[in-house]
C-alpha cells in the first residue's frame, strides 16, 4: 500500500471509529433517558395509588367519625316517647330507614378502609364493576377471563384501572350496546382485547388524559398496546408478568 493510501485508510478508520463512538454515546443517552422517564412514571403511579388509598381512608374516616354520630343522634331522637305517641307509624318508618342507612354506611366505610382497591381477585372485581355499570346503562358486557396464573397486586390494580377507564370511554364517546372484554394468558403474558360495537371514535387528535393514562399504565407494566382504527373502541394489550406463588390476585 502507498503511503498516501495508508494515510487515507487510517483516516477512514478514525472517522468510522468517531462515528461509532458518537452513535454508541447517543444510544447510551437514549437508554439512560428512557430509564429515567420510566422511573419518574413509576414514582408518579406509586404516588397516585398512595393518594387513592389515603383518599379512601379519609372518606371512610369521615363517614365513621362525622356522619355516623349525627345519624345515631337522629335515631335516638326518633326513639323519644313523645314522638312515638304522635305519628307512630311514620316515625317507625323513618327509624327503619335510618337503621338501613347506618348499616349500609358502615359497610361502605369498611370497604373503603380496606388496603386494596381490588377486594377478591381481578376477575371478581372487574365482574362487579361491570355489573354495577350494566345496572345504570343500557349496555351488555361479555366478559371472558381465561387466566389461571396469579400475579402481584400492583399488576392486578393497574389492569383493573385500565378496564375501568376503557369502560368510561365507551360510555362517554361511543353509543355502544355490546362490549367484549377478553383476557387470555399465554407464555407468561396476559393478552387483553377490549372492543365495543359503538359508532363513535375516540378523540385521538386531542387525546385526553384517559387514553394517555391507559397507554401509560400498559407501557409502565412493560406491555404493548395496539389501538385499532375503526368505529368504536378497540384496544389490544400484551402485558408480561411474573408468576407469583401466593397472596396475589389471579384467576380462580
Amino acid at each position: 500500500m502507498h503511503t498516501q493510501e495508508s494515510s487515507i485508510y487510517i483516516s477512514t478508520i478514525i472517522i468510522c471509529s468517531i462515528l461509532a463512538f458518537i452513535l454508541g454515546y447517543c444510544a447510551y443517552i437514549i437508554f439512560r433517558l428512557q430509564r429515567k422517564y420510566y422511573r419518574l412514571k413509576e414514582k408518579k403511579q406509586a404516588n397516585e395509588i398512595d393518594l387513592l388509598q389515603k383518599e379512601r381512608g379519609r372518606i371512610a374516616a369521615d363517614l365513621h367519625d362525622e356522619l355516623a354520630p349525627l345519624l345515631n343522634i337522629t335515631l335516638k331522637l326518633l326513639e323519644l316517647p313523645e314522638l312515638r305517641k304522635n305519628g307512630a307509624r311514620r316515625v317507625q318508618q323513618a327509624e327503619a330507614n335510618l337503621v338501613t342507612v347506618l348499616t349500609r354506611m358502615g359497610e361502605i366505610a369498611r370497604n373503603l378502609n380496606k388496603t386494596s382497591v381490588i377486594v377478591n381477585d381481578l376477575k371478581d372485581s372487574i365482574g362487579l364493576f361491570l355489573k354495577q355499570y350494566s345496572f345504570k346503562n343500557d349496555v351488555r358486557f361479555r366478559f371472558e377471563y381465561d387466566v389461571t396464573a396469579e400475579f402481584d397486586n400492583n399488576l392486578a390494580l393497574q389492569l383493573y384501572l385500565i378496564i375501568q377507564e376503557l369502560v368510561n370511554n365507551t360510555m362517554r364517546h361511543t353509543q355502544a350496546r355490546l362490549v367484549d372484554i377478553c383476557f387470555r394468558e399465554l407464555e407468561c403474558k396476559i393478552y387483553i382485547y377490549y372492543t365495543d360495537d359503538g359508532e363513535g371514535q375516540l378523540p385521538f387528535d386531542h387525546a385526553g388524559l384517559g387514553i394517555k393514562s391507559i397507554t401509560d399504565r400498559a407501557r409502565q407494566l412493560g406491555g404493548w398496546v395496539k389501538i385499532e382504527d375503526s368505529p368504536g373502541i378497540k384496544f389490544f394489550f400484551i402485558i408480561p408478568f411474573k408468576k407469583t406463588n401466593s397472596n396475589g390476585h389471579g384467576g380462580k
Partner: protein, 218 residues
C-alpha cells in the same frame, strides 16, 4: 478471500428471514414489512452470488433490490411512525424515490452501473427516518429498550445505512488510489452486517403476537 467472507456473512440474513417466516402467522400485521424486507435481502444475496459467479457483476439485481428495499423500509417505518398516523409523508417519499431511481437510470443510460447517487440518498434518508421514528416513539417504546422490536430494528437501520452511505461515497470516488481503501472499508461492513443481522433477528423474535392469533373469534 474478502469477497467470500463478505458473501458468507451477508448470507446470515437467512437466520432472521427464517425466524420471521416461522413467526409470520402470529406476527402483528404492522411488523410484516420487516419480514418481507429480510426475505428480499436473502433473495438478493442469492441472486448476487449467482450473478457474480456467472457474469462477474451483480449490478442489475442490486439496483433493482435497492428500489424495492427502499419502498419496503418506508412501508415499515410508516407503520411504526406514531402508530401509522404519518403515512402520507411515507407515501410521498416512496413516490419521490421511485422518480429519483428512474431519473438516475435515464441519466446513466444503463442499468449496468451502480446507481450510486440513489444509494447514498436512500441510505441517508433511511438513517434519518429511523432516527426520527426512535425520537417520535421514544415515550411509547417498551420499558426494556432491548426488548422493543422498533428500537432494535431502527437501530439496525441507522447503523447499517449510515455506514452504507459512507462506503458508497468511498466507492464512488474510488477510481484510483482510494480503491484499496474502499475495499478495506468493505471489510468493516462484514462486522456491521453481522451485528445488524443479529439485531434484526432479535427484533423479529420480540415482535408482538397479532390479535387475530390470540382471539380468532373476535
Amino acid at each position: 478471500m474478502l469477497y467470500s467472507i463478505t458473501a458468507s456473512v451477508s448470507l446470515l440474513i437467512v437466520v432472521p428471514a427464517i425466524v420471521g417466516w416461522c413467526r409470520f402467522k402470529y406476527t402483528d400485521v404492522s411488523y410484516r414489512p420487516l419480514v418481507y424486507l429480510l426475505t428480499m435481502g436473502l433473495i438478493n444475496e442469492i441472486v448476487s452470488l449467482y450473478s457474480v459467479f456467472r457474469y462477474g457483476t451483480n449490478t442489475i439485481n442490486y439496483n433493482i433490490f435497492i428500489l424495492i428495499e427502499t419502498h419496503l423500509i418506508l412501508w415499515q417505518l410508516g407503520n411504526w411512525d406514531y402508530r401509522g398516523r404519518n403515512s402520507q409523508l411515507y407515501r410521498r417519499l416512496a413516490a419521490v424515490f421511485l422518480i429519483a431511481w428512474l431519473v438516475e437510470w435515464a441519466w446513466r443510460g444503463s442499468i449496468h452501473q451502480f446507481f450510486s447517487f440513489f444509494i447514498i440518498a436512500h441510505a441517508l434518508c433511511i438513517s434519518l427516518l429511523a432516527l426520527t421514528v426512535i425520537e417520535k416513539s421514544f415515550f411509547y417504546l417498551q420499558k426494556r429498550l432491548f426488548n422493543d422490536p422498533v428500537f432494535l430494528a431502527c437501530s439496525g437501520f441507522v447503523i447499517y445505512y449510515t455506514y452504507m452511505a459512507l462506503l458508497e461515497v468511498l466507492w464512488m470516488f474510488g477510481h484510483s488510489h482510494q480503491f484499496t481503501v474502499a475495499r478495506r472499508a468493505t471489510a468493516i461492513l462484514v462486522i456491521i452486517n453481522f451485528f445488524v443481522n443479529f439485531l434484526y433477528c432479535f427484533s423479529i423474535l420480540c415482535t408482538p403476537r397479532s390479535r387475530q392469533s390470540i382471539f380468532p373469534r373476535l
